[in-house]
Amino acid sequence: MAGNNNSRTMRINLKVWRQKNQNTEGRLVDYALDNVSPDMSFLEMFDVLNEKLVAQNDEPVAFAHDCREGICGSCAMVIDGEPHGPQTGTTTCQLHMRTFSDGDTIVVEPFRAKAFPVVKDLVTNRTALDRIQAAGGYVSVATGNAPDGNAIPIAKEIADMAMDAAACIQCGACVAACRNGSAMLFVSAKVSQFSLLPQGQAERERRVSRMVWQMDEEDFGSCTNMGSCAAACPKEIKVENIARMNREFGRAMIFGRDRKQTAED
């Protein structure tokens, strides 16, 4: 039909990673979608693909998603080699098809790292990040009621840095982007958000040490300062945080009061 509606839709060729489960080999499978609206989000395009697959009695593509508004960090996909796709500071759910052109071929793969085993298709198990967080990413004091806004004076610049670090949604894109499979950007954001603030001081050394032990235990790689992580981060967490963690860890190593105990537990 030569209608004006049609001129607004796109044809998209997809190469999507299909993998039955953790123990089977996966491979890229070709799909073609006509009538993709430029206003669809990337995930909505996958919804359309899945409806089509279900109608054909084929297995739909498994992909993780929840909030679809850029805050939960579920929607992990690598689009043309880039975690969360080509747009900076954007999660996959917030990426729109207008970013692509009619007739494009898009390769979609799961996040890849030893620490993120593929569960199925594009779904990966990223609970290793939870375990790092649980190892030290907290403040263990009774919190009581929310304190008065300005009861503890904190310089605006410091508060801003802590807030920027706390913007991490734990999606794992940093690990996915890193050629070493390193989780340094994630861990450093979590370390920074506490170490910058007065409430985080008491457990400062123990926190960074335990989180790093856990990071190594989970088989994340080491950082070589390539910077792909920060470029891929949908929340634009900066590598300054990694430098801060380097300082925190060095401080714990040299001055840590409970260094020996921390090292042993």
């Binding site: 190469k15 890229l28 690598v78 043309d80 080699g81 880039e82 975690p83 080509p86 390769v107 793969e109 890849r112 790292a113 030893k114 620490a115 982007a177 890193c178 050629r179 070493n180 499979g181 390193s182 040490s209 790093v212 032990w213 990071m215 190594d216 088989d219 994340f220 790689g221 080491s222 950082c223 070589t224 300062n225 390539m226 910077g227 792909s228 470029a231 891929a232 590598v239 300054e240 990694i242 430098a243 801060r244 963690m245 380097n246 300082r247 860890f249 060095g250 714990a252 190593m253 840590g256 260094r259 020996k260 921390t262 090292a263 042993e264």
Partner: protein
């Protein structure tokens, strides 16, 4: 106490401190070595006399031992981390991104620029330090004529090409390495980050060009 420290140094982050500190020691060494080499532009005697002064100081043995230990630690740790990282990231993607989500050529190739540097280093010591021993007299002192050997080597096209390629790789290693080691040691501030990067780039280019100046001078001007 020491047990605690060892656990820290053995972690992936601790091993990076070792990389950065040993790398920086060699970074300083290559600069001084390069500056010493430039004495060839002064005169053959100045060049020989500098080498004589350097090697006749007993402290040279301490310095040499330290350099061997540091390069050994740097290479062993670097290879170890690289092997670990191949395990923690077994597969890359079907498409390599061209944006900043990819990585720079120099940062991706550290293991190769480093390994070839090590091979070069060993052959370099065999060629010069343990190479042909000519003698000369400067100011009445009998000393090694290292200048003669240098001119001999750099008059051969093949040797100049090999030396040139290796020095470009050393420069590439430093191009990423110098700024990277600041970050590893936690030296990072929004105000200074561009200056640190610029310093690393300038440093690597100056070192590489300084080293390359010698063979080009010998081959094209002297030869």
């Amino acid at each position: 106490m020491s047990q605690g420290i060892l656990r820290y140094l053995g972690s992936t982050m601790g091993r990076k401190y070792i990389m950065a500190i040993s790398g920086l020691v060699w970074t300083l060494f290559v600069l001084t070595h390069m500056l010493g080499n430039l004495l060839i532009f002064a005169s053959a005697d100045a060049y020989n006399f500098y080498a004589y002064k350097l090697t006749s100081n007993p402290l040279i043995y301490v310095a040499e031992a330290a350099l061997v230990v540091f390069i050994g630690m740097h290479a062993a740790t670097g290879i170890g981390l690289r092997m670990r990282n191949s395990r923690t990231k077994p597969n890359l993607y079907a498409v390599t991104p061209k944006s900043a989500k990819g990585a720079s050529v120099t940062s991706k190739s550290m293991i190769w620029s480093g390994t070839i540097t090590l091979v070069f280093l060993i052959l370099h010591l065999i060629t010069f330090k343990f190479g042909a021993y000519y003698e000369t007299t400067v100011d009445g002192i009998l000393m090694r004529d290292i200048h003669k050997l240098v001119v001999e080597c750099f008059s051969q096209t093949g040797y100049v090409v090999w030396y040139g390629v290796c020095l470009v790789l050393v420069g590439m290693h430093l191009y990423h390495g110098v700024a990277s080691s600041f970050q590893t040691l936690g030296i990072n501030h929004p105000k200074f980050n561009n200056a640190i990067k610029g310093f690393g780039w300038a440093y690597s280019i100056v070192v590489a060009l300084g080293f390359l100046a010698v063979p080009f001078y010998v081959f094209f001007v002297k030869g």
